[in-house]
């Protein structure tokens, strides 16, 4: 197994600030916008972006939710191992809101497809955008593209992209792992 670092913590820091600024350009004071972190790993990116918006740009009223897509996946009974559910926590209305999905890695696009179905259980948003830290651009199974991307990478299918977060894994880093 080989492990190659793609982004270090300084690069991630710069990218997160850029993504936060791009969100502000499009959503101004976030009055009609809600951010949704996709479980399990998108929530760390979403929380980080919210804290940047709050601390560096004084936007304090950003609504942040967590969406679990387990029951909406299209690979139920098609995977070797059972799928474990995570927590959904959306205590606001998404009806008539601009929703921004936030996930760490965009790969096949199937998680986002499931998230698009799942969010309908909470109402009908005006529009939905997608923000990802890493876009594996040649791996898509579905016609889904991000509106905001941290870094685009070309990775072959045998390789895995892993995002580590300070809060969860001890330090910020993105690795390409070859099994």
């Amino acid at each position: 197994m080989s492990k190659k670092i793609l982004l270090n913590s300084k690069e991630i820091h710069i990218i997160l600030h850029r993504l936060a600024c791009q969100l502000i350009e499009n959503h101004n004071n976030f009055e009609n916008t809600v951010l949704i972190g996709i479980q399990p790993r998108g929530i760390y990116l979403a929380e980080r972006l919210v804290s940047i918006l709050k601390e560096d740009y004084n936007i304090s009223n950003v609504k942040l939710g967590q969406l679990d897509i387990t029951f909406y996946r299209d690979d139920f009974r098609r995977r070797g191992e059972p799928i474990e559910a995570n927590k959904t926590n959306i205590n606001f209305i998404v009806e008539d809101k601009n929703v921004v999905f936030i996930d760490d890695v965009l790969y096949s696009g199937r998680s986002i497809r499931a998230a698009l179905t799942a969010i309908q259980s909470f109402g009908r948003p005006i529009d939905i955008e997608l923000l990802v830290l890493i876009d594996r651009r040649f791996s898509r199974h579905l016609p889904i593209q991000p509106n905001y991307r941290g870094r685009q990478v070309d990775v072959i299918n045998e390789e895995r992209v892993t995002v580590n977060w300070k809060e969860k894994d001890g330090k910020d880093a993105v690795y390409i792992i070859n099994n």
Binding site: F71, I83, T88, S121, F122
Partner: protein, 312 residues
Amino acid sequence: MSQLSVQHLLGIKHLKRSDIDLIFETADHFKEVINRPIKKVPSLRDITIANLFFENSTRTKLSFELAEKRLSADVINFSANQSSVKKGETLIDTANNILSMKVDLIVMRHSNVGACDFLSKHVDAKIVNAGDGTHEHPTQALLDSYSIREKLGDVAGKKVVIVGDILHSRVALSNIYALKLQGAEVKVCGPKTLIPKYIESLGVGIECNIKKALEWCDVANVLRVQNERMAINYFPSTREYSQLFGINKQLLDSLNKKIVIMHPGPINRGVELTSDVADSGQSIILNQVENGVAIRMAVIYLLAQQIERHKQ
């Protein structure tokens, strides 16, 4: 490990502690789902479920059907009193005919003990026992324990008394297995004629005085007097039963603590519980009904996870 250790849900007796924890954890997620504006998930859209009710039921059947529909499964229903069973068809023939229609999972209630176990050995489908005679009613016991956990934080260490007709009750037996497995202390309380002789071998105490039983417990799970299962008279009169084993407001107020009142329904109001007790703040009867849907969604979801795709 997030998979059940069993292939069918035939009874609590076959489950491990980790299975119960997994079912509860999954039910937590489904409880969140059923409180959303749109209470449905698409997980089981390629699964067909047959509800075979050879014995009358209202809430269990509705609860299962709702759980199945909220998971997006296709559902077919069967009631014995309107079917070819009346013409003499055997259980295996009935089940095999239904399975020929490509059914993946069967939820069955039957008046004979072991009917689900028997069927599981003869047909190629997942079986969920929705009550077999006086034997087991596993989903009811799971939802009862889940409701206790929700109300009191944990089942382990809690004192639970099961009041009423223990002899004819599948709810009592499944509850005893489930509660003991999770580390609760269990006593039964009822007329001696309605307490089976073997009960103490399950690690369960007997208390024939309702006041003493209630003083001891944290939770009273009160069962219905099953007149339909009694071929002979086990106690002199319903009036005497309600005086000796019925729970009323006065009795509850005489305890120096607030115990939790449960009942699997349907209640014979004025017999097992008076209305002011059934509708009081101490009663979690309606929570049990709500939790029933989440628990049944969890059980069906976890069993469906094991169904191989090539069967389709």
